[in-house]
């Protein structure tokens, strides 16, 4: 094993020192993932606006105005729906959150001094806490603005004070001293608002701004929605698995040629004359290819997760998909490496085979928009199974049993192709 590790370490070191090879192995797949993700729609949730669906259970003028305010905002992309539809949209990942404007919202909004605060319920996928917090903040912002409007509307405030005074007057359980204090307070407030109204009528410009703070503008209740990710969250969820596939292709092509390079440059003779078996030599090459593909895949997933909104189902599923794909492409690399006798031949044959694999397997056009006959044909391409495994782990929300199909095929392909490659490897090229 020490010798296999030494062989793999040598190949990885050489790859890292080859700037061109490093670029096309790591940076190129990343560029593909970002580029195609961006041109095919980027964040599928509507760019910078967070897509929400709103349910109006209050159906008052106030709730309607509040929803209209949200719809007019630049931060939110608002769609109205029934509660069932709203929950379904969030569960399927089509919307970030649903917002239910609860019954009584309008009444509560008109009475800021007593009773419950106007209430909304926000339902969000637990995996999207960041967006949920942003949605809540945006709702608070517009609720506060609405309250500010209420306080700057002296007619409405005087109506509220009158209603408050009437409620105090008719309150049965209130002791006389408290009642007297409230009546004094609301009497003074009533006088103040009357003066404000006169000033507004005189157009002095004085009355702008309410300044009565300390009230809760909005009460937010939370609901959790377990999402069915049977649809990509955004275009990057499609383009990153494709980018990873291109990384696998690049590495398989690079390492497939490297074995021929070892032969043409004479270093293979040195390896062959060392006291190691051919399987050890080829296993070292395969291990280097495996490590390289795993590294590229992990880097792309991390970049996608941190910067482009990828939300894998679980680390374990992603690891399963990555390792299976890496095994498959180590085997494919081994087979490619024995197909050509010269670097040019090996490179040409390798890319020809890999490009066809990519075309059939969804490396260029997403699998889910392929016509049915091409989807059937794509089953012969390991790229298809690699992309499917990655998509299963990223947005298709595959169960472990569902993951076993693509991952099992990939592992089988890897083992089979490696065995064929080892057997077909021309240990001593007859020249």
């Amino acid at each position: 094993m020490n010798k296999v590790l030494a062989l793999a370490g040598k190949d990885l070191r050489i790859l890292l020192r080859d700037r061109t090879g490093f670029f096309f192995s790591l940076m190129w797949p990343l560029i593909i993932a970002i580029f195609f993700g961006t041109i095919f729609g980027g964040g599928g949730d509507g760019g910078s606006a967070i897509a929400i669906v709103v349910v109006d259970e209050d159906s008052t003028q106030v709730s309607g105005d509040f929803i209209a305010t949200l719809a007019a905002s630049s931060e939110l992309d608002v769609e109205r729906a029934t509660l069932d539809d709203a929950v379904d949209l969030v569960r399927r990942g089509k919307k970030t959150s649903f917002v239910v404007v609860k019954s009584g919202f309008g009444k509560a909004s008109e009475n800021p001094f007593w009773g419950d605060a106007p209430t909304v319920e926000v339902g969000t996928d637990p995996a999207r806490r960041a967006e949920a917090a942003m949605v809540e903040g945006i709702l608070m912002k517009y609720a506060a603005e609405r309250m500010q409007n209420v306080f700057s509307n002296t007619d409405l405030q005087m109506k509220n004070v009158d209603e408050a005074k009437e409620a105090i007057r008719t309150s049965a359980g209130m002791d006389p001293a408290t009642r007297e204090r409230f009546e004094g307070f609301f009497g003074a407030l009533d006088d103040f608002l009357a003066e404000q109204q006169q000033l507004q009528a005189a157009d002095t410009g004085f009355a702008a701004g309410g300044g009565l703070g300390g009230f809760t503008p909005l009460k937010v209740e939370h609901a959790q929605v377990t999402r069915e990710r049977r649809w990509p969250t955004n275009a990057y969820a499609i383009s990153f698995p494709q980018g990873i596939a291109w990384g696998l292709i690049g590495v398989a092509a690079a390492f497939g040629i490297s074995l021929v390079t070892e032969r043409t440059r004479g270093t293979l003779v040195r390896l062959q004359t060392a006291p190691i078996s051919r399987t050890t030599i080829l296993a070292g090459k395969a291990l280097a290819c495996f490590i390289c593909t795993v590294t590229i895949s992990v880097v792309l997933v991390i970049v996608g997760r941190l910067l482009f909104g990828l939300r894998p189902t679980s680390v374990g599923m992603v690891a399963f998909a990555i390792v299976s794909s890496a095994i498959a492409f180590a085997g494919i690399m081994m087979l490619l490496s024995v197909l050509g006798k010269t670097e040019q031949a090996a490179g040409g044959i390798g890319w020809a085979v890999l490009i066809v694999m990519a075309m059939l397997g969804g490396g260029m056009i997403p699998l889910f928009i392929l016509p049915p006959w091409l989807k059937t044909l794509s089953n012969v391409s390991p790229i298809k199974w690699s992309i499917l495994a990655m998509e299963g782990a990223i947005w298709r929300q595959f169960s472990f049993q569902e993951m076993l199909v693509p991952c099992g095929i990939l592992i089988g392909v890897g083992v089979l192709f490696f065995a064929i490659g080892v057997r077909a490897f021309d240990w001593v090229q007859q020249t």
Partner: protein, 290 residues
């Protein structure tokens, strides 16, 4: 061959190898003794590299056997571990440093830890590359690469060293340095098989030489023995005032003394036979023409 070293290091018996219609090696037999430097001299395409490749287990012979110290065939990795090979093509990685190359190949040979570090240090010092050990090999001169190629063959302290045309493409200064390294190895009692098509190298370095052409071993002996047996006569060219004279003799010193006693010698030149003459007499062709 100097000294009493008679134990066999490498025994090659009736070795044959064909590539299609071409017979690369034809019923070739050799015995390499411990502690000697054995030269395999022949033109390009004579079959020298094929013999080396079969001797190290890289090529499977069509017939015949190779045995190292009587322990078995080099096709067995354990036997192969006793051999160090410096292939004709530079078998080193340009993107790794000299030290990294040595550490890598040393690890493949089973070295590790302190033992590996000590061997790497020793061999770098031996070939004079200690001051460039951290530099990438692609920045080395051709001669330095050749020395590293030799160092890699030596890193695991092999019992038998196979050097396949180790001075090809090397400037005279580096060639001389390689000669000195090989002479040092001889003084240490190392067994070396040295293939070359340069007569001067074989004559300078080798205790015994095998002449190979078209896959056949034509003759094998010490340099003196080969010349005596196959080199032909020496030729003395002289001018005694009566025109150019040419005298062939098997004992040029005795003939010169006799000429000197006759007096009136203006100029003279002696062409002693060398391995070139041996090759010419054995094949009818000059080695240099190949």
């Amino acid at each position: 061959m100097t000294g009493p070293a008679t134990a066999l290091m490498l025994e090659i018996e009736n070795l044959s190898k064909r590539f299609g219609s071409i017979c690369a090696v034809d019923e070739l037999s050799l015995e390499i003794r411990e502690g000697e430097i054995f030269g395999l001299l022949g033109p390009n395409g004579a079959g020298k590299t094929t013999v080396v490749n079969m001797a190290v287990g890289l090529l499977r012979p069509d017939s015949g056997t190779v045995s190292l110290r009587g322990t078995g065939s080099p096709a067995d990795p354990a036997v192969r571990a006793q051999i160090g090979v410096a292939p004709q093509a530079l078998a080193i990685y340009g993107d790794l440093s000299g030290e990294e190359n040595l550490r890598f190949f040393g690890t493949l040979q089973g070295l590790k830890g302190k033992g590996l570090a000590e061997r790497v240090t020793w061999v770098l010092d031996f070939v004079g590359l200690s001051d460039r050990q951290k530099d990438r090999v692609k920045t080395y001169s051709g001669g330095m690469k050749r020395r590293l190629n030799l160092a890699v063959a030596l890193v695991h302290d092999p019992a038998l060293l196979l050097l396949d045309e180790p001075t090809v493409g090397v400037d005279p200064q580096s060639r001389n340095a390689i000669f000195q390294h090989i002479e040092t190895l001889r003084n240490e009692g190392r067994t070396v098989v040295y293939t070359t098509h340069y007569i001067e190298e074989a004559q300078r370095l080798c205790d015994r030489v095998g002449i190979i052409d078209q896959g056949k071993l034509l003759a094998m002996d010490t340099v003196e023995g080969l010349i005596k047996a196959h080199g032909g006569t020496s030729v003395i060219y002289l001018d005694r005032g009566r025109g150019d004279e040419r005298i062939e003799t098997v004992e040029p010193m005795r003939e010169l003394m006799k000429i000197h006693e006759g007096g009136n010698v203006r100029t003279f030149k002696v062409d002693a036979p060398d391995l070139e003459c041996v090759f010419l007499n054995l094949t009818g062709r000059r080695l240099r023409d190949n």
